[in-house]
């Protein structure tokens, strides 16, 4: 009889130290060698990982009350503005915000050396960060200015809350135009001299559970070096499948996650400020999800290898900025990882934007945590919308 397990059963085995946990890479090999039925019967949990720039990230901070009190109307952390249009001493520091004196792209391509992502990394590294804030003064919050050096330990709460992380799949970006362009996919040389891609392929969390049979609200995850949770679907959650020329499902496409966790427990190794030349500042986030092997279906999807997962090749000089549909074909992650791909018969050098060695490290850490019984699976309160939910992207008109 085909193997079936529940979250509860798996958690019992984790507590007893009996759970069989392997990484998604190891599962790919195991299924290729011994088949899905065998792997399903043997393995309880498969771990995944990804580490790359994820712009839709940031942290809610409760900065604490000064004496006398101030209702913080404007907040700057190391000169980077934080959004303070919430309660008196709450603020949200977003990964892509930059200093007000940043030259941006006025000296093209701008360097964007220090942004909200760097503030977050400095905070989790335990560094002192300059807090400056102004208020307009009220009867109950009379103070109008405050400045101090703070550390993460000095403030009340710091909650990493990233509205869109862990993109399921991503484009392979190229530039067929005659001049170099600077994008969030890196520096793309003219005449398609390079092609950049950005997922960890066979280790990428949402490529391994494309029908959301196990991942949902409350799923416990690896986030920024500590424990986090899936809070909701991410923004722009479009869990569809790319089709090949014959109309068959080729690869999962655009699902995303919104995730949350305690910033105070995280580490600068797994939350690293990033500067995308000519584009902006960002935050590289380390994220990993354990997939419980509930049945053979879950195992089959989790076992998809780099040769079975594909990315669309997109022209970032024209099609992407002008929002034109269409692509220059599809390419497998195995080809992308080899270092060269063929586009229209021409060899093009590839390079990743997300770190495969770090993704592998995350899957390995998560595996160890579960094996040691330190990390139990979180059974979702509700699963996320899948490709059958009929979600379509809206576009701004005008």
């Amino acid at each position: 009889m085909a193997t079936e397990r529940t979250f509860r059963e798996i958690n019992e085995r984790i507590k007893q130290g009996k759970a069989v946990v392997i990484t998604a890479e190891e599962l790919v090999t195991l299924v290729k060698e011994k088949g899905v039925s065998y792997a399903t019967s043997e393995v309880d949990v498969v771990t995944t990982g990804t580490f790359g720039p994820m712009c839709s990230s940031g942290a809610f901070l409760n900065l604490g009350h000064s004496k006398p009190r101030i209702k913080m109307q404007k907040v700057w952390l190391n000169g980077v503005p934080a959004y303070s249009g919430i309660a008196a001493v709450d603020a949200y520091i977003g990964a892509t915000e930059v200093r007000e004196d940043d030259p941006l792209n006025s000296d093209y391509p701008g360097e964007f050396r220090y942004g909200g992502g760097h503030v977050i990394q400095d905070l989790v590294a335990g560094k002192k960060v300059n807090l400056r804030t102004t208020g307009y003064g009220t009867d109950c919050y009379p103070r109008r200015e405050f400045e101090a050096q703070i550390t993460l330990d000095d403030i009340n709460e710091a909650i990493l809350f990233n509205p869109r992380n862990a993109y399921q799949n991503y484009s392979c970006a190229v530039n067929p135009s005659s001049k170099t362009i600077h994008t969030y996919m890196g520096v793309l040389k003219s005449n398609m001299q390079n092609a950049h891609y950005s997922t960890s392929g066979q280790l990428s969390p949402l490529l391994k559970d494309p029908w959301f049979k196990t991942i949902g609200i409350g799923t416990r995850i690896f986030l920024g070096g500590s424990v986090g949770y899936v809070a909701w679907n991410g923004t722009q959650h479009f869990p569809s499948f790319m089709k090949d020329e014959s109309g068959q499902d080729l690869s999962p496409a655009g699902a995303t996650l919104s995730v949350i966790g305690d910033l105070k427990k995280m580490s600068p190794r797994w939350l690293a400020g990033a500067s995308m030349l000519g584009y902006g500042a960002s935050l590289s986030v380390g994220l990993g999800i354990p997939i419980p092997i509930l049945n053979e279906d879950v195992c089959r999807f989790a076992a998809a290898g780099d040769d079975e997962l594909f990315a669309p090749i997109i022209d970032y000089s024209q099609a992407f900025p002008e929002r034109e549909s269409g692509n220059l074909g599809h390419v497998s992650y195995a080809e992308l990882k080899s270092g060269t791909i063929k586009i229209n018969g021409r060899e093009v050098t590839t390079a990743p934007m997300s770190s495969y060695p770090r993704a592998r490290e995350i899957a390995g850490l998560l595996k160890t945590w579960i094996q040691k019984g330190e990390f139990l699976l979180g059974e979702p309160v509700e699963l996320l919308p899948d490709a059958n939910a009929g979600i379509n992207a809206n576009a701004l008109q005008g």
Binding site: F51, G52, P53, P109, E111, R113, G186, V187, K189, Q193, N194, A195, H196, A272, A274, S275, M276, L277, S282, S284, K337, S338, G339, T349, T350, A351, P352, M353, S354, S355, Y356, P357, R358
Partner: protein, 133 residues
């Protein structure tokens, strides 16, 4: 003999002379030009690798005709604390000094192949490539 990296500076009055040809023909040196630039005032700078038996004599010749010769002391290093091995520098690096080691996909830097073009300094999202003098 290991190649020597040098920076040459030419004033406008000599920048039209075939000095590299002389280095090859008369001094039997192997020249690899890494970077060359002539500004609108016709002053030139050039960074190159020289190898061969007669490097010192060749450099002496350059100085005798008025070329400023300095050895290249600037080098690029990979700050391994900052590098996350993403790989986004590897297709930008023109000389293959930055490359991905497969199958582990770790980003390596071979400073012997570096031509000190500085492209990686800003292309690296982590700013992990640094100049050292």
């Amino acid at each position: 003999m290991a190649p020597k990296k040098v920076v040459l500076r030419f004033s406008a009055d000599i920048s039209d002379q075939p000095m590299i040809y002389k280095l090859v023909k008369d001094y039997n040196l192997v020249i690899n030009i890494l970077k060359a630039n002539v500004n609108p005032q016709m002053e030139g700078t050039m960074v190159m690798d020289i190898s061969g038996e007669n490097i010192e004599a060749g450099i002496e010749y350059l100085r005798s005709v008025g070329v400023g010769v300095q050895s290249l002391t600037e080098e690029i290093i990979q700050n391994e604390d900052k590098c996350v091995s993403c790989g986004s520098c590897t297709a930008i690096c023109p000389s293959g000094a930055l490359f991905i080691e497969r199958p582990d996909m770790i980003v390596r830097f071979d400073s012997d192949r570096c031509v000190v073009c500085h492209l990686c300094l800003k292309a690296c999202p982590m700013r992990a490539m640094e100049v050292r003098f």
